[in-house]
């Protein structure tokens, strides 16, 4: 029996995992799939610094083609940055949507115009 089965939370991790933890692991998995995408592309297909540079090279090291050589730690870091970016976007967009939504007609916070 695995040790993790002794903890009810870890045993049912797919149900008990926190939203932040889940987002981080999902972002890491996306980075892993992107790395395999970089692995699946033949750079010679696009010629020397031609279409390859235009489509995939988004700035030297941080391209899908460069990701093929990334190690696990780099993928984890990229996943953490991606998850953080998504969280910031989520919080920011929620704040914008909330600000744009009109208040109810007779609510106290309604600004009389």
């Amino acid at each position: 029996m695995l040790l993790i089965r002794r903890s009810p939370r870890a045993n049912a991790t797919v149900r008990t995992v926190s939203a932040g933890g889940e987002l981080f692991v999902a972002a890491v998995v996306i980075c892993m799939i992107l790395a395999s995408f970089g692995d699946a592309i033949d750079p010679a297909m696009f010629g020397e610094a031609g279409l390859e540079f235009a489509i995939f090279d988004l700035g030297g090291e941080f391209s899908v083609l460069a990701m093929r050589d990334w190690h696990l730690l780099q993928l984890l870091l990229a996943g953490a940055v991606l998850a953080l970016g998504i969280s910031v976007l989520r919080v920011g967009s929620a704040a914008i949507v909330k600000a744009l939504r009109p208040a109810a007609r007779r609510v106290l916070s309604k600004v009389p115009i």
Partner: protein
């Protein structure tokens, strides 16, 4: 290719090994406790010491064997497939988490207790050793470091591991993802497939998504609505279809023909529709089946 000592590749592989050690650690203390509970106190102490020693020795032996076995052609593919199954099993919740299937009854003698402990550890440690072997990329130093990390977990670290995964269940999810990544890495390194993958580079992406879609199925299945549950089977099936068509096309030397492309991209649709129809029919039949008559229990 083996990573250089303390390079980014080396540290990454070491991190993967530590994570795998944590999530695939077996409960040796429980096994030893179950086996030795009916023995006299004096013998119990001896069983605990020699049982732990035997478990470590077996783990070391298996680690060395895995290094040699993964070098043989075909075993990397088999190991990769096994790792996918291990990752899937890791993420699937188990209903009875208190019982151990490895131990049926307490031992009555020292030799029987030792034998049971060693066999139970060997059975429990196969997945751990295989995963470490895959993550170590053939480096004996990394295997030894992995063993050096797993031994303290076997002997003292069980409570620490339980507390860690109880506080952060996402460690188990991450472990599943790392196992799937390790499975992908060793499948594409398989010597029998290396030439084929070099000629069909795009299939690496299909293989990666296939491995992740099977290994992480318990995770995304828990988030899907009942209507979307067939995706858990359909997604891997479509990816297997794409890989199968590519293999068939390369075997029969068919390239760029319209018929082939039509079969590749549309051929799975009738099969998927037939499977969905059959699934619905079976579901409806089970729904309309009359309930068995009630029997009163006196």
């Amino acid at each position: 290719m083996q990573p250089e000592f303390l390079s980014a590749g080396f540290v990454s592989a070491l991190f993967a090994i530590v994570l795998i050690d944590l999530v695939l650690a077996g409960d040796n203390a429980l096994i030893i406790g179950l086996v030795a509970r009916n023995l006299p106190k004096n013998t119990q102490r001896k069983v605990i010491f020699w049982g732990t020693f035997g478990a470590i020795a077996v783990r070391g032996l298996m680690a060395v064997l895995v290094v040699y076995i993964l070098d043989l052609p075909g075993f990397m593919l088999a190991g990769g497939i096994a790792l996918v199954w291990i990752a899937r099993k890791l993420l699937t919740p188990e209903e009875s988490s208190t019982a151990s299937h490895a131990v049926k009854a307490p031992a009555t003698s020292f030799a029987a207790a030792l034998r049971t402990i060693v066999i139970a550890d060997a059975v429990m440690g196969v997945d751990n050793v295989l995963a470490i072997g895959g993550a170590a990329t053939g480096s004996v130093l990394l295997i030894m470091l992995g063993l050096a990390i797993s031994v303290p977990i076997i002997v003292w670290g069980s409570q620490l591991v339980i507390r860690l995964v109880d506080r952060f269940p996402s460690v188990v999810l991450l472990g599943g993802a790392v196992l799937a990544w390790t499975a992908y890495s060793i499948v594409v390194r398989e010597p029998l497939l290396a030439t084929w993958f070099a000629g069909h580079a795009a299939t690496k992406l299909v293989a990666a998504i296939l491995i992740f879609s099977i290994a992480l199925a318990p995770w995304y299945a828990a988030r899907l609505s009942p209507q979307s549950q067939p995706l858990v089977v359909l997604l891997p099936a479509v990816l297997v279809w794409l890989l199968g068509v590519e293999v068939a096309a390369s075997a029969w030397k068919l390239q760029g023909e319209y018929g082939l492309e039509a079969v590749r991209w549309l051929g799975w649709l009738p099969l998927a529709a037939a499977w969905l129809w059959l699934r619905e029919r079976i579901g409806l039949r089970n729904l309309h089946r009359p309930l068995p008559p009630r029997t009163s229990v006196e």
